[in-house]
């Protein structure tokens, strides 16, 4: 049993959006859906003003609110690695999960669409073949890559190595070590979701 998770080192992120683009290319998501957006916030005042970046994705929470909200039990957590997935054959498109997620990580897939309209690029064609119109979509931690022993696309693409992927239940893993040594924190702890994505200050 493992609990796959991610550590994101905010001190390293330069806001290049490579993770966002790599994710979109890997999963073929339509233009309105980004599984791994990077958010920006201006902090401080001139001359000490700066922009900070917050790379995000589905937090694959241990106590996922989307799972509790889904009326059809379409959202499930894999026992072997803790990845939270949406079953495309069960989702009824109630959007309850989208409202319930504190991180805005779920999206409604209305219909087939790509950057060039209804004509999809080969990447979009491949990615959206797995989507069902009228259902919810979310980051899968690139489960198709993980099952082949590879890391998620956002992790291997990051030029500053700010995303680190591994088993949070293994005390010897890099994610566990960094989490302990550098006081990792989670987003929206008030929501009580116990996210598997943690941040280093």
């Amino acid at each position: 049993m493992a609990r796959l998770g991610m550590i994101i080192d905010l001190a390293r992120c330069v806001g290049c959006d490579a993770c966002t683009v790599a994710c979109q290319a890997e999963n073929g998501t339509p233009p309105g859906i980004q599984y791994a957006p990077v958010y920006r916030k201006e902090v401080g005042k001139f001359p000490q003003a700066k922009v900070i970046f917050l790379p995000t994705l589905c937090m694959h929470c241990a106590d996922a609110p989307c799972m509790k909200a889904c009326p059809t039990a379409a959202i499930h957590k894999r026992a072997q690695d803790g990845i939270v997935l949406v079953d495309q054959n069960k989702c009824c498109g109630s959007k309850a999960c989208i409202v319930a997620c504190p991180y805005g990580a779920l999206h409604f897939y209305e219909e087939r669409s790509g950057v060039y309209g209804t004509e999809l690029t080969p990447q979009e064609e491949r990615g959206q073949a797995a989507f069902t119109a009228g259902t919810a979509q979310k980051c899968t931690f690139c489960v198709h890559r993980v099952e082949r022993g590879l890391e998620p696309a956002c992790v291997i693409t990051c030029p500053t190595h700010c995303r680190i992927f591994g088993d949070l239940d293994d005390p010897q893993s890099e994610v566990s070590r960094l989490s302990r040594q550098r006081n990792a924190f989670t987003l929206r702890p008030d929501a009580g979701t116990d996210p598997s994505v943690r941040y280093l200050p």
Binding site: R40, K41, K68, C70, A73, C92, D190, T193
Partner: protein
């Protein structure tokens, strides 16, 4: 050159943002469901009134249809009973289904005299329908209060408010049915109305007081309701036109001790309008706090 204070704060992840997914369709569903369930209870237990029961079943059915239309995959509605152990939407769907089945069976056996010669079967169905009607009145509130993502919803006051407002909306539908049927039970209707509207106003004031003292995100919801984009609908539509004016109308008719059908009709219609705006405002005042 003047630089904008925060050029990157457009997304909710770095700023407060109102919930945008649920709106008119869900407000309509919650309104019809609460009103229909309330009307059924009034028509069954306060004044046995089969026309009211029929209309109540129609309203609850319309609520179900309204929800189904909003689904991305309406054909999979039947799957929504699957997660009743965890999901309040699932429990709500189940309660609506059982309510409709029990209410139709009760009405059928009473009207057509089927199943049994005595009234025990119909009575059992009516009791079952009433229990599930109360669950259906509560369920929208429990759906919202179960979401920790939106702090203003995540409160025990929300299910209570939805329950109270369902009774009030049911009372207004009941009044319309009594008026349409020319019933002589309007006196009972007026007495109930004063208590229910006053209770609704009191519970809303308590809720607003709690919102005004909550966390930053909760206070943002309070601001939206009282001074923001929803202020007109909430202060004017829910509190003013939807509760205070009908209360004054009903008080006037009661004190005058003369049945004025136009005033009763107006009071009931205004309560219904306010009931819809209440659901809409609660949904739209759901604010996500920023992630950082």
């Amino acid at each position: 050159m003047r630089v904008p204070a925060n050029v990157f704060s457009q997304d909710y992840r770095v700023a407060f943002k109102q919930q945008q997914v649920w709106g008119v369709a869900h407000a309509l569903e919650f309104f019809l469901l609460g009103g229909g369930a309330g009307l059924y209870l009034f028509s069954t237990w306060f004044a046995r009134f089969s026309l009211g029961q029929v209309i109540a079943v129609g309203l609850v059915f319309a609520a179900g249809v309204s929800l189904m239309i909003d689904l991305g995959k309406p054909g999979r509605l039947w799957r929504s009973f699957a997660n009743f152990k965890k999901s309040w939407i699932s429990r709500g769907a189940l309660s609506v289904f059982v309510f409709l089945a029990a209410a139709v069976l009760a009405m059928g056996s009473r009207q057509l005299g089927v199943a049994t010669s005595d009234a025990s079967f119909a009575l059992s169905c009516e009791i079952a329908a009433s229990i599930f009607a109360i669950i259906a009145m509560l369920y929208p509130g429990f759906v919202l209060s179960s979401y920790a993502s939106i702090p203003a919803w995540n409160s025990p006051m929300i299910p209570l408010l939805f329950l109270i407002y369902s009774w009030t909306t049911g009372w207004a539908f009941f009044g319309l049915v009594l008026l349409a049927a020319g019933s002589e039970k309007l006196g009972l209707f007026l007495g109930l109305g004063i208590s229910l509207i006053a209770l609704t106003i009191l519970s809303l004031v308590i809720h607003l007081g709690a919102l005004s003292r909550g966390s930053l995100a909760v206070r943002e919801s309070f601001r939206e309701l009282t001074r923001g984009s929803l202020a007109g609908k909430f202060i004017g539509g829910v509190l003013g036109i939807g509760l205070v004016v009908p209360l004054l109308l009903v008080l006037w008719v009661t004190i005058a001790a003369v049945m004025i059908p136009a005033a009763i009709l107006l009071a009931a219609l205004l309560v219904l309008l306010g009931g819809f705006f209440f659901r809409y405002c609660v949904l739209k005042a759901g604010v996500y706090p920023p992630l950082f």
